[in-house]
Assembly symmetry: D2
Homo-oligomer: 372 residues x 4
Amino acid sequence: MSNPMPAKELGIALIGTGFMGKCHAMAWRNVATVFGGAHPRLEILSDVTDEAAKHFATQFGFARGTTNWQEAVTDPKVDIVSITAPNGMHRPMAEAALKAGKHVWLEKPMALTLADANAMAELAQASDGQKTILGYNYLRSPAFQSARKLIADGVIGKPMAFRGVYDEDYSADPLLPWSWRMTHEGGGLGALGDLGCHLVSQMVALMGPVSEIVAQTQIVVPTRPSPDGPKSVENEDSAMALLRFTSGAQGSFATSRVARGRKCRLQWEVHGTEGTIVFDQENMNELWLHRAGEAGLTRHLTGPDQPDFAAFCPAPGHNFGFNEQKTIEARDLLSAITGGPACGPDFSQGLEIEKIIHAMATSNGTLVRIER
Amino acid sequence: MSNPMPAKELGIALIGTGFMGKCHAMAWRNVATVFGGAHPRLEILSDVTDEAAKHFATQFGFARGTTNWQEAVTDPKVDIVSITAPNGMHRPMAEAALKAGKHVWLEKPMALTLADANAMAELAQASDGQKTILGYNYLRSPAFQSARKLIADGVIGKPMAFRGVYDEDYSADPLLPWSWRMTHEGGGLGALGDLGCHLVSQMVALMGPVSEIVAQTQIVVPTRPSPDGPKSVENEDSAMALLRFTSGAQGSFATSRVARGRKCRLQWEVHGTEGTIVFDQENMNELWLHRAGEAGLTRHLTGPDQPDFAAFCPAPGHNFGFNEQKTIEARDLLSAITGGPACGPDFSQGLEIEKIIHAMATSNGTLVRIER
Amino acid sequence: MSNPMPAKELGIALIGTGFMGKCHAMAWRNVATVFGGAHPRLEILSDVTDEAAKHFATQFGFARGTTNWQEAVTDPKVDIVSITAPNGMHRPMAEAALKAGKHVWLEKPMALTLADANAMAELAQASDGQKTILGYNYLRSPAFQSARKLIADGVIGKPMAFRGVYDEDYSADPLLPWSWRMTHEGGGLGALGDLGCHLVSQMVALMGPVSEIVAQTQIVVPTRPSPDGPKSVENEDSAMALLRFTSGAQGSFATSRVARGRKCRLQWEVHGTEGTIVFDQENMNELWLHRAGEAGLTRHLTGPDQPDFAAFCPAPGHNFGFNEQKTIEARDLLSAITGGPACGPDFSQGLEIEKIIHAMATSNGTLVRIER
Amino acid sequence: MSNPMPAKELGIALIGTGFMGKCHAMAWRNVATVFGGAHPRLEILSDVTDEAAKHFATQFGFARGTTNWQEAVTDPKVDIVSITAPNGMHRPMAEAALKAGKHVWLEKPMALTLADANAMAELAQASDGQKTILGYNYLRSPAFQSARKLIADGVIGKPMAFRGVYDEDYSADPLLPWSWRMTHEGGGLGALGDLGCHLVSQMVALMGPVSEIVAQTQIVVPTRPSPDGPKSVENEDSAMALLRFTSGAQGSFATSRVARGRKCRLQWEVHGTEGTIVFDQENMNELWLHRAGEAGLTRHLTGPDQPDFAAFCPAPGHNFGFNEQKTIEARDLLSAITGGPACGPDFSQGLEIEKIIHAMATSNGTLVRIER
């Protein structure tokens, strides 16, 4: 089998119990049911209050809870640490876990700053063979994996152009209160850090490395209400970029957190010399493919002919879900630990993504070369 | 909370490990993680060979495996029996479980014959307060629940017309070998039993009881290859029907297992006096709604404003999956056992569905009244 | 060329200047520009008032106007009469034109009653080689012609099932005033006469003759306001039917004039043994085709590879319009007059359509055989 | 009426009988039928051979044909000259027509070079009140006009971001022979001149003037076969750009003539502070609108509630066609001549479009300011 699963149970620590925390928990609980191998041992869960830690340890089926994340990342019974805490905690937590000899599953974005991401990548590189993987879950859907494979197999010829957007509207309401997440220090990047990095992860997976970028950003809602009166939003509500890839292909890129009516529009298309592939995460079970000589685009519903779907369901057109992406992500990590293929994006590859989004954030209409 | 969850763990037996067996297992493993309450205790799993029973007990996280389903349904540590065995086993298994005092979660269709379904409904009715629920999973998606609620709340006025289809193409290939599933004795109904009953379950949930039916069926591939030469297909490849509801509304209905290119097209629309709702399970995260005075149909992406979604994910447009429907089904059963709202379709409601599909199977162009 | 065009100009009379009257006028003005041949001579236009007759004769470019339709249909300079008057006038006008030796282009439905349609078909049959054509314009779009050809060429194998609807919402508002069009005597059939007959025209073109029907109708808004108080609606707001075709195929059929949010949803699909075709007139430039072995449905945008499109535009994906269907209809009639292929539906074929919709109107849940 | 139509017939000369030539002819023949006013007098048609000139003069209903375009543009009976000749002829023909005192309807792009466009704009500016209009037909569809009006009326708040593409695949096949159209001297710009300018025309109509551009272009098929062996393609197969508008809004822009499977994908969206509008010319009868507080995007089918549609058809959802856009364009010109609102883009506005596409063609990743 191409993805070996662990013969012995591995101990899991989970930090954070919000959106992604619960998503990691569901993945850990089902990964062996879906893919086989030993079930992970859900060892310890960390949350900010004692009550929450206990409550969610019980709900998610972990052996115990703690408010001390250092305890969680260093527990000798723990092999893998799932980090889903706020972005500003990513570096200290990931570093502590790596230093304690753990494998790390870290939610994106890697860190608040490029310097942080760089330090983390270096530490991971120097670690004792520990695996790192970033939570770029959209890379895992059967449709996306299929698209990636179709391109790699040359089905659309040489990929020449990428067009991608990732739009949501969670910040569109100007009455949404100000938060520290909208500052450089507290939240790092804006739409680029939250959404854009996902699109970059897919773009790079499909098109290969980026060599040059020109970008512009925009703050659509410059101030937001706070108890102390209106406060300034520092990070971008949206960004747009042009790209050149080292392959010679070109790309256009846009992301927004203020795109009214868009909920998870991670939408892209790749134009190859012999065909076109189109995808939209809002309909993540549809992949659209055109090959030279065909009449138009054909709708491919997700099914067992696409990677990893059959382990969840034998019937095509029976929708794969957002959360199930995370189960594949967990499998990828377990499999890499068990001697299977390298999982990614690891911290080195994640650093590449960070370089790109930070270049977009600072380009201001000027061409930036991505050093490597 | 409207759906109380068990304070103490309940013991689970699972019979069958195929498509639906695995789906039940995933649901049992995640139901408490998603909705809270005590985690079910996965007690015993039954499969046809000793090897399979052991293998899947380990993979799905059950305490032990058996080849003796009677043992599974009578085990004193078991409170709930999940039955996902072939349709011909539904009656004996469900009856044994009910007689052993267990709650029963049974996959659809209820049974091979109306007589069987009737007997099962009577037994359940006479049971000691045990809950029964049939695996009409498509009733559970947030989009469907939302549609049902919109109609119940009068958002589209009085529902006057239903138009529904459920089409797949798994039997379209005429070279697909003959199987006992294609006989009356072995498989019962054809497309109606496999697909049509799902559409009926949704139709009745949206429109209320059916009073009259006229239908016609079709065998598109009359013989299929077998090692002994071509053999006859006995049950219908497709069916079409007209319906009258006791409300006075009318309906049209069609189902096919030979509809080329369709994978899970469980598609319907309801025309009300003040609006229209449209749904297609192949894009199960989209609900289309039109209300009088609006320009056209509006796309509602699944999100936390729809029932039960928020327990899985706080972000709208992040696709809900087919398998997650089953987690809600498990919750519905657990909640009913814990004193929450009645879960359904129970065996009595399931019998209504059976009456309708059997009437369709035998109408042959003649009007049939549904007795109640 | 397969469709010869007239070498000499033919004289045209047009009766009626509303929706369809203007549509005929545009078609007559552009048919030779698009398809070649002698331009028709726009001879005489008839409307109910003198002012309107003059006004529209000028606007539509006719030589003169009249309030006397008999004059128009008997004018010796007239070769072809376009009849777009209210349905109740179809029989007398068409008969007068036929008796005067004219070719007749008549809007659908043929007549208010089956008896009228029958008489008209007989008169046309007995005429001196004059051509008749009914305004079933949806048969003319390049996408529909392409679908018809794909089926005829066996691209989807043997057509086994038809599923069709034609829904609009022009009568959905219960405050829409009562009119004589809603009576049997004044308006004939309701949704079936207005919309359903179009769907029948396409269905028969795709599937061949109908042998048996079971249908039910519905009046959703039973009374409507009038200056004299509420008055009863006599003809159907919607209808649903099951059909058997002489080929052995089966069909389901529905039409409604009270389907909120639907504007021109003439939507159908044909399931063949080797593929599926899907069409919706609201997106009349898209045809969806699936063939066995392909992944899903492929979108075929209207283009010069489809019949008759290239005469309008050489570029694919450049939308063909509703009105342009009528230009093809005019061409079909001119070409038939010039010795080209028979045009249709002529009055005999139109009578078949009338038989079907009247059978639907009167079935009331009972099987009706279509005599032929 | 807001768009007065001529009381007296105006004489028309038409140069060119290809794709656009026929389209102009159809428009001239139907403009008065649709909108009223005096029918234009189709005076003279010019084509390159005597045979073609005569043939098309007859087919399109012009009084006579000529091979001498100078004769056509100076004919004293001519008031308006329709120029649909190859791009390299646009300047001499338009200048001759203007000098002869004619109104000019010129197909896009204006000219091969910015210098030419500039000279033409100056001549038009200095003319004796003659009207000029460029063939940006996509501006005329009811859906586009409606979108423009919705934005102008503030329905989506302040427009902050534009995302647009115009993709076709007519040059995707690398075996498509080389032609002079692929050279700077013969064809001017590539995809930008052919397709991109259309997108610019819509973008500017929706968003207002552009202030800054960064762009990159790409030649995907660098050489193409010719009888003399492979020859170089000089102008761009695709282009991508970032834009800033003088309003402060931002935009991303892309166009390609090698986008496999795309036929007329002139697709854009505008994000406003209070809503979003989305359009795709391949489904030109659908406009998608979202307003703050609504659930998602709503599909608006073209209908009489949108500008100019009712003159063609009273029924919503009955598709407007590509060619009919041109009839509205003709009306706009006639109306401007008759004292109605200014029609556009005139040569001055067209020059703005040319500046933008030429800036895109030469930016090469560097920011370019649009002077005005």
